[in-house]
């Protein structure tokens, strides 16, 4: 571990845009230590200025390439851009495979672009909390647009991307026999639909499929007054990139109006629930750790059942509901 830096110093340095301080505080958020909570509380209250854009799509949808294209275009338009990528990591090794990040290499060395992969390390649920903390840290650190990139399958992953001001769902032509966004339950969460690889001849079919599905009404949850655009984008030819930038800016403006209040409150409630969940589970784990191994063995022999044991453990922790 590196030298300890007091939280107050770290917050000041984050607010000054110092990358090393930003990276360090994100690492503390990721580690989930209780000691980091006061700093993250301060960060939360300072944040709220950046435009948070969630981008999701199934593996192979061209999501990472789109993120790289978008980051470059936003950068060219003068924005400071950060990308927080959630990589499905090995539950065993704890490592992330960052192959996709290589595609971002054109942006390497530009201080106006920051890319961070969040390791998920088996901390089910904690990922949402850590990712949203990282977004706030980058917000306070002066990044104008913060992209959350998640693979669009998995409940936690879908929840995280929903906790963005603007959610983009990416589909690729010719991937399997269905519209992938539907399969993964993502059609309704999109504020903007992107069909990647729009230079391919089969992209029009995918565009038409998504428009057709939307016409069928599978778009509940979308804010009133916003027409969800379906945009073909080719990272190769540049087709559609300007349209996408305009749609993102326009949705960002719409999200800032009072019409966006309900969504912001829902996101905040999700955040509260996830944070409480993390605190509760920490407390539970700490309180029960000494007994867990023995209980696991009894359970595996079916000498006891998980409901009785779990209830017993929970009762030792929780106050009587009086």
């Amino acid at each position: 571990m590196s030298r300890y830096v007091p939280s107050e110093d770290l917050i000041a340095r984050v607010a000054a845009g110092e990358i090393a301080a930003i990276a360090r505080l994100i690492s503390r958020a990721e580690a989930g230590a209780a000691e980091a909570r006061p700093a993250l509380s301060s960060i939360y209250r300072l944040a709220g200025r950046a435009h948070v854009v969630g981008i999701t799509g199934v593996p192979g949808s061209g999501k990472s390439t789109l993120v790289a294209t978008l980051a470059a275009a936003l950068r060219a338009a003068g924005h400071k851009v950060a990308v927080v990528a959630i990589d499905p990591s090995s539950p065993y090794s704890g490592g992330s495979i960052l192959g996709d990040r290589i595609r971002m290499s054109a942006l390497a060395g530009d201080p106006g672009v920051y890319i961070r992969s969040m390791a998920t390390r088996g901390a089910v649920g904690g990922m949402a909390r850590a990712t949203l903390d990282a977004v706030d840290i980058l917000d306070v650190g002066g990044f104008d647009t913060i992209v959350i990139e998640t693979v669009g399958v998995g409940q936690d992953e879908v929840e995280i991307v929903k906790a963005s001001a603007t959610t983009i769902v990416v589909s690729a032509p010719g991937l399997g026999d269905d519209v992938q966004a539907i399969k993964a339950g993502m059609l309704e969460i999109a504020d903007i639909h992107v069909v990647s690889k729009a230079d391919r001849s089969d992209a029009n079919r995918t565009l038409a499929d998504i428009k057709h599905m939307m016409a069928l009404g599978l778009r509940a949850g979308v804010a009133a007054g916003w027409t969800v655009p379906v945009i073909g984008v080719s990272s190769y030819s540049g087709e559609g990139v300007e349209l996408l930038l305009a749609a993102i800016a326009s949705h960002g403006e719409a999200a800032r109006t009072p019409a966006g209040d309900a969504r912001r409150a829902t996101i905040a409630d999700f955040r509260l629930a996830k944070t409480a969940e993390a605190i509760l589970l920490d407390r539970f784990t700490a309180a029960t750790a000494p007994r867990r191994a023995a209980l696991g063995i009894r359970l595996s022999r079916r000498e006891a059942d998980p409901y009785s044991l779990a209830s017993e453990l929970v009762e030792t922790l929780i106050k009587d509901p009086t």
Copy 2:
């Protein structure tokens, strides 16, 4: 809602293999009502006989087709087979898209095959508990082999499939430019690797890629003494199906030996943690529901931060650690 059936009757009818009773108890487990817990406790202690096989792969990997092929082959070999499929469902509509299930229609009407899609309905975390309860109910109901099918992305999904005696990871040839299992962090969780669509000319390349990655040592966590087979399977030509059946049977036998004790204890501990999590979050939600909406609005205005609010709420619920 249908007529209320007392739990004791329901358990006896499940144990007699009555499909309506099995379906009803799975629905109760899925709904997560506290009233179902005593019945599920009894079921847990009665279960443990069936071979639980987890099958996972990214969307488009041919996982559902493989499950159908495997179910038919096991059935032909005289097994009673159940499939519990976790469909990513819409977080808005609560519905599941069951397109894949249509592929199972060849098995429809056979009482020795039972197929159940678990709706995930936004209950993050609760899905693992409900799925494993469903597996136990089917086990007590007399099914010999129970297949858990999950899309192999998402932390909860990976955790669930790991909670099987035998875990199969499916990859398809020609899906994107990487081995999908690696991208999704699934290489290490496989007890058996299957490459689907083995009749295709590019399947050999995918088989070789997986073998190569395994030779590089990306296979921690696999039980000592078990060599992970990499099997090409074509649901179209039938190639590899017998090999796969033999590998599943052989791994199932290995898993029943004392060498499998540690894994069973780990699975049981995961189950205990998930069950406790569900109980804790239920209690938390019930205790805080009246205050949540107002807190969400304060949070969304950044007048408060999630850590302080969540800690406050948790403290009202939890005993002092004395």
